[in-house]
Subunit: 157 residues, 2 copies
Amino acid sequence: MQCRGGGGMRGSMKISTRGRYAVRVMLDLALHNTGDCIKVKDIAARQGISEKYLEQIIALLNKAGFLQSVRGAQGGYRLLRAPEEYTVGMILRTTEGSLAPVACLEEDTGECNRVDTCETLQVWRELYDAINRVVDGVSVADLARQHRRHLEEAPES
Amino acid sequence: MQCRGGGGMRGSMKISTRGRYAVRVMLDLALHNTGDCIKVKDIAARQGISEKYLEQIIALLNKAGFLQSVRGAQGGYRLLRAPEEYTVGMILRTTEGSLAPVACLEEDTGECNRVDTCETLQVWRELYDAINRVVDGVSVADLARQHRRHLEEAPES
DNA sequence: CCAATTCCTACTAAATACCTAGGTTTATTA
DNA sequence: TAATAAACCTAGGTATTTAGTAGGAATTGG
């Protein structure tokens, strides 16, 4: 359905929907940060994402301490801190796990035995650094700012 | 066996063994670039990788036009061009597919409909650029140079 | 001819991605 | 107080991908 081209090679190094949706959720929460609770149902509707699936993703963000949750009727979620305080890197790490391109670079795990003689490790380290620099250099507030600028330039609906 | 910590979160954005082995193969071929053929069997032994699996990976590199192959007894492979001509990026792209972190950035495919209003796309684009800059900035010759320097500093065996 | 090699295709077990489904608990409100 | 609306929790389920195994056909050197 999504792979029409030739066979084979679809591409790894991908950020999964979990991570991408999580970033969009955080942005959504920042844009509707009026003080009162925001329901999963509303986010799902706005973002066009399955409600039940979003629930699970938000649960990860919640467990990470990013959100404040209110149970019961008229409950929902809101950002615990200011949008500036959340980087895309933080969000991706809690939902996707480590962003290291190879397991050897994982903080706790890994440590392959060929570490001293492995020339490729240096490349992976540079890659890891570059990835972290980008994702930690963008905050949810940056995304929100960009969204508002978009609206000004092309005001629709 | 490799995940001992807690459950959950293993980490995406990973380069698979295909890609990592491919880079090691190219480095191996560069280091043993004496002019005569190098057998898969020897590479597999030196690198400690399954012969049959390597065969398939090398087939990809071969089909991409990176190698010269000689069939039959005393056959094998050698680099078609100088090690300087191959970047890690080229190798990863032929074995792993596109290095784009999201499908929307894929050259031919993708083009999601929310392209104009998607603020997150900008982050993914920056990430894509950063990844490409790193992997295209390192050649197989660089890896070989680093290997030889390693040997000088700590000459073992 | 024989042995060594590349080449080609199919298969498999395990993990992962991306959900769906169904229920439990907690709080508001009619 | 009962109904309802929400968060919370856990267990699947299908399709795809990964990391190989396996087995043989085609090609060449000795």
